[in-house]
Symmetry: C4
């Protein structure tokens, strides 16, 4: 993982998952608003989507674990070198452990979608656990490095921890769009920050690396982190607008009048509720 690609790959994965989860929770929200789940198919569709999602996550996790173990110079499943009396490639094992917990999340996702007696919040619990474990491992990951390296990883730990907290809150606050978007915003931020770490520590241009001891770089990365976060919200806003536009276009074509009526009633009920 100590390369630009090693940071770009998980970054891309989290950005894709973030966009996917953002779309899913906006679509679910719109369905709840319109109380027209029949239009988007029955709830079974969502369960099937969750199963596909779970399989994808398990696949990614297995690929990640195998990749970490069997790349050139990887630990190849050996943990302790008895000859030399030292641990083998512990950083690789760290990453393997992270992937394993995401794999557990994928398994739980499938179980919660197939076995109905399991509460769905268990899948949320495993998700927040996977994120907390990731934050915990990254927290103990950068021992003895330069301050800028530690700083960018601390920010990463912070955003992962916050994503875990948001996922944990969803155990109790089901179907709350605000918390769901907060969680996906942290997932997106995590993805784009992985890219940023790659650019800072292993510049792909082949140019000289950043000065890891310069405090001005820390000052800049502080605001750079905020810009990534602002960008995250712009992406979410664009996705929201896209979903709403899609729904409106297709719904208006099929049943324009009914929707209009529904929305007026809802509007009043909602404004009643909001006061």
């Amino acid at each position: 993982m100590g390369s630009f690609k090693g940071h770009a790959l998980p970054g891309t994965f989290f950005i894709i998952m973030g966009i996917w989860w953002t779309l899913k929770c906006i679509v679910k929200y719109v369905c709840r608003k319109h109380k027209r789940t029949s239009y988007f198919g029955s709830k079974a569709v969502f369960y099937r989507v969750d199963i596909v999602e779970g399989i994808t996550i398990i696949g990614m996790a297995v690929i990640g674990m195998l990749g970490e173990q069997f790349i050139v110079g990887g630990p190849h499943l050996s943990l302790y070198n008895y000859k030399e009396g030292r641990w083998v490639q512990l950083l690789g094992w760290h990453h393997t452990t992270m992937y394993f917990f995401f794999g557990l999340f994928g398994v739980m996702n499938i179980l919660c979608s197939t076995i109905r007696s399991l509460p769905t919040s268990l899948s949320k619990l495993m998700f927040s656990n996977a994120l907390f474990v990731e934050a915990f491992i990254f927290y103990n990951h950068t021992h003895g490095r330069e301050i800028l390296d530690i700083f960018v990883h601390q920010l990463l730990v912070m955003v992962i921890f916050l994503a875990g907290l948001a996922a944990f809150m969803e155990i109790f606050l089901r179907a709350n769009l605000t918390v769901e978007l907060l969680r996906t915003s942290f997932i997106l931020l995590q993805g784009s920050w992985f890219w940023q770490i790659g650019f800072v520590l292993y510049p792909p241009s082949g140019g000289p690396a950043w000065d890891l001891l310069d405090h001005d770089n820390i000052m800049f990365l502080t605001i750079c982190f905020c810009w990534h976060y602002a960008f995250t919200f712009i992406i979410i806003g664009a996705l929201y607008a896209f979903v709403i536009w899609l729904v409106k276009t297709r719904l208006n074509r099929t049943c324009p009048s009914e929707v209009g009526l529904l929305k007026n009633v809802e509007r009043e009920q909602e404004s009643e509720e909001e006061m």
Copy 2:
């Protein structure tokens, strides 16, 4: 911003906004109590007020961003000086970033008031995000300064963070006067503490600055911070009394008997509820 005026301006802004939000949430509370929104106009009035508020905040944020960028000695939108190989005016960029997030909050405020399908809690989320980002940037702002300078900024970070937490709690606890007043009290405290920082670091009298290494000054500013907080509550109490007096005077003139009856019923229901 490294001047008395640079601290007095945002201080004044937060005090005005704090007073405004205090008035708004007390008026809303009184409306809920009297269930007489028709008297104060329909809910549309509150939405229109939110739009005006959003436009004001965007205006302030844009002015702040332009001011930070184009004052004499500002960065003028250049981020990196390639000739000298160093960042340009990072503190100015820090402030610009803070203003930008408040601008995002203003935009979301307008969107949540115009597009009814958006949940209003999204506007609360952007508000708490703006405050958390402000706290995060101020936390990484005072690198390598004197202890008193760091201490007053730490207190600032604390109060901004608490304001963010209170705003975050409002996502789940709608229409709870206590939490709303807690949030506005922190906003007011933030405003008056900006003034205090101005007085400590850049005395406007032209006299000598405070001794930034004296521990007695820290001990004094600890209680000074508490006095500001006590003062905040006195202002809120005065505003509350003023709104109640205003409502009573005007309501009694138009429909004294009806109100009296309503209040007695409410009083009993409430006391029932409180036990």
Copy 3:
């Protein structure tokens, strides 16, 4: 306050208040259980009790403030000695500020009991604010002292902060016996820990003070703190048994059969609810 009496006095105050609040919340709980508020008088009784409580707290706060200011060697309301260019008796001002916030709580207690349009949670808010301010000031109080002195004050800060958190939780969880008892247990612990600090730092026997640099003393005070906490729960248990015994004796004398019936019904409903 730098004496045994200076710690024993607030300790006694908090122990008395803790016992009082414990009794009050147990009595309220029993009233709610029996739905027989008429027996203990109308709710007006509780409001009157709150007013008396508020007046007592204000009285204590004013006595504390005057005592801190006008004892021999106190600051006598002067804050800054312009001749010598230094602050006057800042520790005394620290204590004055703490008392002032408890005074504010007393005022709010009276206001919330007399003006019914105010939500009672505002009084809880001022209570938790008074405790948080006390914790904040004590946190910045022990600059440059010995480790044992700092340690006992850190434990004090911790228990005050936890009491503040419990009081803050009561804003949202009204009439929850468990949280109320948690809060009163922290208040009692705070009181008895004030006594312990007095014994450690200013032994009343006139013997030599404890060795403030000995780590074994820290190890002992760690468990001593836990014993105080265990003792707190034993006191609360005794008070609970006393109130229940009192209620049973007096209720059985007046209307034994009715109560028995009521309790059976309740018992089943409750056990239904608990599963």
Copy 4:
């Protein structure tokens, strides 16, 4: 306690209790789902189980306290050696205090099951208190030891604190399977981590102890902690499958059709609720 057995014993205790609580909360969950408490006997069964549980915990706590006090080299109830002017065996007293709080929890468990006027959340409160006190004492336990020793105890403190938090959350969130399983997972993790500490600090094989200054060992124990946590979830999953299999086998034999119908209705209601 400074031996392998001294860590293996509490470890075994927590693992057994963790498995027991996991089974109990899964059975309770299945009962709630099937609304067939009559099958598993009346609620009185659960109260009787709680009483037996309380007696067991009190027994364990008393044995632990006596063991700590009267083992060879223990303090034998003497706290201060006046001759030599030093505390006697403070670490032994630390453990005695921890056991005492678990004893208090056992007492409260019995009281809450026998005296119905007590809210059951009080027993949860005492449980979280016992865990918080344990975390607090362990936090102040490892003064002046090697970094690896401190690190493994820090992880122990973390998991105990998280178990306390989960138990505290149960005060407000009754009958929530996810939070209950989270708590039992932390209890199981605590138990297995006690074993791990024993293996690290006092290798039972008689071989040389681990290098307490090697940073690679810290890196390894970080992921080892995560593996223990993953293992915990696998145990819980197996217990869940076992209970479900047991219930299905026995229910199907007695009343297959009725159960099937019940489950279909539930399934739909639940899926309705989940959206």
